[in-house]
Amino acid sequence: MSDTTSTGPRRTLRQRLHLPRLGVLFGTVWLGGLTILTLLANHVPAAVPFIRYYDTKVKVNGKVKKYGFGPGLDAWFGTGKSAEDIFARCIYGAKLTLLIGIGATIIGLVVGAVIGVLSGYFRGWTDRIAGITTDSLMSIPPLLLSLVLVLRLDDLKEQYSWMGWISRPWQLSLTLGLVSVAPFARIVRAQTMVLREREFVTAARSLGASRSRIIMRELMPNLVPAMVTVAFTGLGILIAAEAGLAFLGMGVEQPHTWGKMIDIARDDIEKAWWATAFPCLMLFLTVLSFNLLGDELARRFDIREAAV
């Protein structure tokens, strides 16, 4: 992005009024609105009468018709293969998509941060082993690794009863979390390497602070900005990855996430474009919002573009 944070006398109207950037505004409104709508639709359907129920069929003259409506007043985003309302499905699908993304990010961030901090702080052999681990994880294309992992978890779940709690959404969160460990670990490591040479760490060490204290009380708080920033960018990427998996048939069966909706309607793309186009649009705008917010945070905290 171009930096428009000009310090000269010429300041734009937006800067004089201290308004947030357009992108940030858009991202916040979109994500906030989507979250509220999907929560209301799932839990308090009475509050949002304009969203149909998940299973409601939109009938044309009293009959269920495949792709009966195009986008319009009857059904805002048109209707799908089994006469379901695409708009309603888009809203219901958001909840699981977001939850899987957030779950995966948390898992990846926690594991990645531990690996990153330890290897950045201790260096030496710890760093070598961690480096080889992240290198190895990164040599498998994320989508390939997640496909294999979801498949294997399916089999193992049948075989070992103690793994029974792992439902499909959990499977996806765990898988995508594992996939994102390596990039998170790399970024945290790089930040730790910079921080550990700073004066306040030397000061703490000369005061006799223990290693664990330095890591927990001195380094960790300073790593939070970087971690929050990459979490936002990572969320966008993981949501896109989830869509890819769902598109390939490894998603959640019910309710349909956006990727699954695209998968279902893709063969009829030529006669009913809306059934694929609108889930795509939702996906794009959501990923874009996360990226916009991540970009703004990176600018605020002055973190060099961390390409996850």
């Binding site: 992005m1 171009s2 480096g131 080889i132 290198d135 190895s136 990164m138 040599s139 498998i140 294309p141 994320p142 989508l143 390939l144 496909l147 294999v148 992992l149 498949l151 294997r152 089999d155 193992l156 075989q159 070992y160 966008g236 949501i239 896109a240 990855a241 869509a243 890819g244 598109f247 390939l248 048939g249 490894m250 990727g259 695209i262 893709r266 793309i269 030529e270 474009w273 694929t276 186009a277 795509c280 996906l283 794009f284 990923v287 874009l288 990226n291 970009d295 573009e305 390409a307």
Partner: protein, 321 residues
């Protein structure tokens, strides 16, 4: 030389860890003797068939021995037989590797071909309106998931404009170049645009930083032409981030290729991978994954070595990470 040896060692270690890890992952849960053979052969099989498969593919050996037998099999193209088709895995895969290879190669090459001139232009005309417009577009493109990009391509170019077919028939460039490129155009564009956007953004940032360096000021003071400064002096010194990210982007392109092949019904490794995963044809999955990992690791190795080619300082550096 030391740098070279270090990178090579890392290459072998990573390849071993990943492929061995994959093998363990795919064998988890096969506890009873004969289980791997049963999975490999599929359906109901006699004890005799299991014994034959065990003898041929050494499925009874300890896992680490099995790994080396498997590796030997991969190298000699004896990758076992497929459950579904009952034909050798190698012949099953062979015809499909090329499709994915073309897809990946074209996408990455095109991304670089697009990114370099755009980024150089942006860095030269920094903060002008055109620069800002391109930045916004590239930021948007980075946020487009592969699925969305591919669907968009179909909607615009197949459904609305009708310029391209939505088939992935396998036509080799040496048979009919025109049809070959017509078939690959949409999938390649769907894959390449987000990658090109990433490259552009990285390169623009680096170019701007390089253009502020003292040696550029010196060069222009000496009267070197703008064109020469941009394309020779500045570009060469700004290529690091892009080079580094080629390795990373390759992983993304492979993942994207799986999705794109599926949408365009191309007969490549991606569609095969999905088919075999859904039908639990684990031995084919293992072979496919190993091939993909091998390519990714080799490309990363080449990227590391090309640092040394671009920057003489690295050749002299004693160790790097």
């Amino acid at each position: 030389m030391r740098y070279f040896a270090q990178r090579l060692a890392r290459f072998f270690v990573v390849f071993f860890i990943v492929t061995f890890g994959l093998m363990i992952l795919l064998r988890l849960g096969m506890n009873a003797p004969g289980d791997p053979a049963r999975t490999m052969l599929g359906g109901t099989v006699t004890d005799e068939q299991i014994a034959t498969a065990n003898a041929r593919y050494h499925l009874d050996d300890p896992l680490i021995m099995q790994y080396f037998w498997w590796l030997k099999g991969m190298v000699t193209l004896d990758m076992g037989t497929s459950v579904q088709q009952n034909i050798a895995v190698s012949s099953y895969i062979g015809s499909r590797v090329l499709v994915t290879l073309f897809l990946g190669l074209y996408s990455l090459a095109l991304a670089i071909i697009i990114a370099i001139p755009v980024a150089v232009f942006q860095a030269y005309r920094r903060d002008t309106r055109r620069d800002k417009a391109i930045s916004i577009v590239s930021f948007g493109l980075v946020s487009v998931p592969n699925v969305v990009m591919a669907v968009l391509m179909v909607l615009v170019f197949v459904r609305t404009l009708g310029w391209f077919p939505r088939t992935g028939e396998k036509i080799y460039p040496w048979d009919d170049p025109v049809e070959h490129f017509r078939n690959f155009a949409l999938p390649v564009f769907a894959l390449t645009l987000p990658v090109a956007a990433v490259f552009t953004r990285l390169l623009r940032g680096d170019m701007i930083r390089t253009l502020q360096a003292d040696f550029i000021t010196l060069a222009s003071a000496k009267g070197v032409s703008v064109r020469r400064i941009l394309w020779r002096h500045a570009l060469r010194n700004s290529l690091f981030s892009v080079l580094t990210s080629i390795g990373l982007q390759l992983s993304g392109v492979v993942g994207g290729a799986i999705v794109v092949e599926q949408l365009f019904n191309m007969k490549g490794m991606g569609t095969l991978l999905v088919i075999t995963i859904l039908s639990k044809d684990l031995f084919v999955v293992q072979a496919l994954a190993a091939i993909i990992v091998f390519v990714v690791v080799v490309v990363n190795l080449l990227v590391d070595l090309s640092y040394a080619a671009v920057d003489p300082r690295i050749r002299q550096m004693r160790s790097l990470g």
